[in-house]
Amino acid sequence: MEKKYDCIIIGAGNAGLVAGLELAKNNKKVLILEKENAPGGVATSFKRGRFEFDASLHALGSFGNKEHPGEVYELFKKLGIVDKIGFVTIPEAFHVYSMNDNANYKLPFGIIEFMEQMEQYVPGSYDALKKFFVLAEESKEALSYIEEKKGNADMAYLKKNYPDFLKVSTHTVDKVFDAIGMPKKAQEILETYWVFLGSPASKVSFVHFATLAFSYIAHGAQLPLKKSYEISVVLAEEIERLGGKVKYASCVKEILFKEKKIAGVLLDNGAIYESEHVIANLSPTSVYGSLIPNQMVPKDALKLTNSRVLGARGFSIFLGLNQSAKDLGLKDYSYYILENLDSNKEAQNRRSIKNSSSAVYVLNNVIPSCSPKGTTILEMSSFFMDDVFSKNVTEKNYFDMKSKIALNMINAFERTTGIVIKPYIEEIEIATPVTYARYTGHPDGVIYGYKGTGMDNLLPRLLSIESENFIPNLRLCGGFDVKLAGFSATYLSGDLSARLTLQDMIEEGEEEWN
């Protein structure tokens, strides 16, 4: 096998795969090293009995369709894979249940439809919602501009074209909701989207929240027919077809330097691969904490990484039920079962090991053929804030503890919706922060990267792309990077890191030329 590459990518997660394909398409010789035996990272699936579960994807946002393509659709088109994967549209935006006041709200996709339904639930919310979506759309355009400028935005241009974006740009969701006069109840219902971000309305930046919620509601959301793993496999296949190499069961132990410049990587089996460019699809905690010898890590990289706060720790339950969704009375795709609609109070609940909130997805209501006839795939996804799970878990109590938490969540679902599922469990798998920590290598089982709050929210990250490129020719990507976590964000992050690397290569060439 060749030992020298134009670029080596560590990790075949969403971002690593997209980066690899983007580079291969640009005729770069690329090697992706993946510690597991299949591509995708958490964008994978697993079988239990007669069921195949998606490990993580419940809604692919920013995708849309041929007629109304979102950013991810455009990306997949550019990469030449959009027609190789079958997609299905999710029927409704969300159905949220609040345990504390026994209410539930079901919201459709489409801006107009969404506003009209919300007006029914909360009379007087229509105008504020209109403002919300205008602000969101303007923010989205402004972000694209800033990203295009790699963070070096022209202030006069922003003032002229995106004045309202600038006004809200440094504020949290709570603050802007008040400024546009959003009624409290409508705020709470809309805040349901926070569970995708992992930080509540008083902490998360408005721009981040609004741009994602806007994409989600305007473009709708899709699911690949054969699980997110299909996207991963197609990406990996395409990379190899274009001459790239994806090598599995290959765990990188160290990033190598030669005269202080990136020189390649060392695997845990002693193999060395050379390259002057490395893209790392893992957390800065791992890159600067484990893969690079401490004396080689720039001080600012240490300081930045130490200043960041780990986000939500994942907890998921995968159920194969031996009755059809219809027979069980499961009519919707998504049921958000929250102890409290108020995201700030809800975030507090998730600091307790007794947290029973979860987002529940009934895959058969989007893809009827996803499991055998007369059965249902139901996945429950939740998270804990801070290190509450780690504080309570031991090697000995682990299996009991995960069953107990799962039972809590299943009971809360049954109690809140009146739908009984426990007697029909044919297969069950439970993933905890320990599972995520082991499988992804991410610190403490984090699934949403660092908290996107305070000065570590989307905008300051985006504005600092170049100033935080601490080690020349080493680019980072994935859910811990500038675009934060989520499927769409990580695919787009991979694209960004590849474009930046291509630029690094050009600049280098120019230097040599000069």
Partner: protein
């Protein structure tokens, strides 16, 4: 047109400009000490699911003429201090180099999880007539021999959220090992359910762990054991084969069946269980090799491509691609060897294979990936390993 944003104005626009500076301030005020990597979830993950464990044979117990139990402890010299905790019913995959071959075999851990705190696992090996690895274990392995094994794996375990509290285990042969581990765990208070073991064998002398099982059931009223002998009519034993009538007295309104044994046993047991007309969820099987209709015109040439080397070997239509690779000493990364775990996932570059239905993920199936541990060649084959 600008919106009317109550309380937000010029000042906020100016704040945008300060964002990078404010971010820098926070970064500069933070510590430049080495980055913390000692997270509890990662540490427990590594303890529960190590990629490899180095072990040493600390004792060998002869169960009968053709069966031995091997007691394994950590091989501290090779870097393993502590064996991983497991769920009763799980297995470890053991790597065994024999002559020029490199083999891996899954063996159920037969002891209680409690033994892990004394740093011990036990596995039981039964001689198979042409089994390369089982014969090697029975004839050649000695105390102090060292091996590399995987972390505990597999999905054949009691899960209170799914399984009934009344469990009837239907077992024969080495299949008793997973159930013994569950019984030991009930005795030790680690598991809590009612377990009736219906243990089938030809003759009394073929029953493994009879003394241990009887001792456990005597001392614990959650555990009950009955034997069914096909070739011996003896007092206190059922005579004949497992039947609906033998099972019925132990049934409760909600009962789960755990089935563990040889393929022939699974087949006959499933026929008996059919009479109860139970939903799938109440019948769980220990890992077993599914049915494949074999066909072929032998032998076939198999080309195996790894990133470092290309191998050419021959493989018969009655032999799995994995088994042919093992004999050649090709490192294969397999674990379960029944198609379930997906560790040996490889790309079928050309040729045709016959394989067990339902083991592949849809996206893999569509993109010509196979699990060589359950794939039999039906033509010459080119296989690309994932590393």
């Amino acid at each position: 047109m600008e919106l009317n944003l109550k309380g937000l104005g010029k000042k906020d626009m100016a704040a945008f400009k300060e964002l990078p500076k404010n971010r820098e301030k926070i970064i500069h005020s933070s510590s430049s000490s080495p980055i913390r990597t000692d997270y509890v979830a990662n540490e427990i993950g590594a303890l529960l699911h190590p990629t490899v464990q180095h072990v040493k044979v600390v004792d060998i117990i002869e169960e009968n003429k053709n069966t031995k139990t091997f007691v394994l402890g950590p091989n501290i010299d090779a870097g393993t201090k502590k064996l991983a905790y497991f769920r009763p019913g799980q297995y470890i995959s053991i790597e065994v180099p024999i002559e020029s071959g490199l083999y891996r075999r899954p063996y159920t851990i037969s002891c209680s999880p409690k033994n892990v705190f004394d740093n011990l696992y036990t596995i039981t090996v039964q001689r198979k007539p042409r089994g390369i690895v089982s014969n090697y274990f029975l004839d050649s392995v000695e105390v102090d021999d060292t091996f590399t094994i995987s972390g505990p794996m597999g999905n054949f375990y009691y899960e209170p959220l799914r399984d009934a509290r009344n469990v009837i285990a239907l077992v024969n042969g080495r299949g008793i090992t997973s159930i013994l581990s569950m019984a030991e765990a009930i005795k030790d208070g680690i598991l809590d359910f009612k377990l009736t073991i219906l243990y089938s064998a030809r003759a009394e002398r073929d029953l493994l762990f009879k003394q241990e099982l009887e001792e456990i059931s005597r001392k614990n009223n959650l555990i009950h054991i009955e034997y069914i002998l096909s070739d011996e009519d003896k007092e206190e034993y059922y005579y004949g084969h497992l039947s609906k009538e033998i099972i019925e007295p132990f049934l409760e309104p909600e009962t789960s069946f755990f089935v563990s044994g040889t393929n022939a046993f699974l087949e006959s047991t499933n026929a008996v269980l059919k009479e109860f007309n139970l939903p799938n969820k109440y019948i769980r099987h220990d890992a077993f090799f599914g049915k494949v209709d074999l066909f072929g015109n032998d032998p076939y040439t198999v080309t195996v491509i790894t990133s470092e080397k290309e191998y050419t070997l021959t493989c018969h239509h009655t032999e799995t691609l994995l088994s042919a690779m093992e004999k050649e000493g090709i490192p294969t990364n397999s674990r379960c060897q029944v198609g379930e775990c997906g560790f040996c996932r490889s790309k079928l570059k050309s040729g045709m294979v016959r394989t067990i239905d339902g083991v592949l993920r849809k996206a893999d199936e569509e993109n010509e990936f196979i699990h060589p541990c359950v794939a039999f060649p039906e033509s010459d084959v080119v296989l690309e390993l994932p590393f």
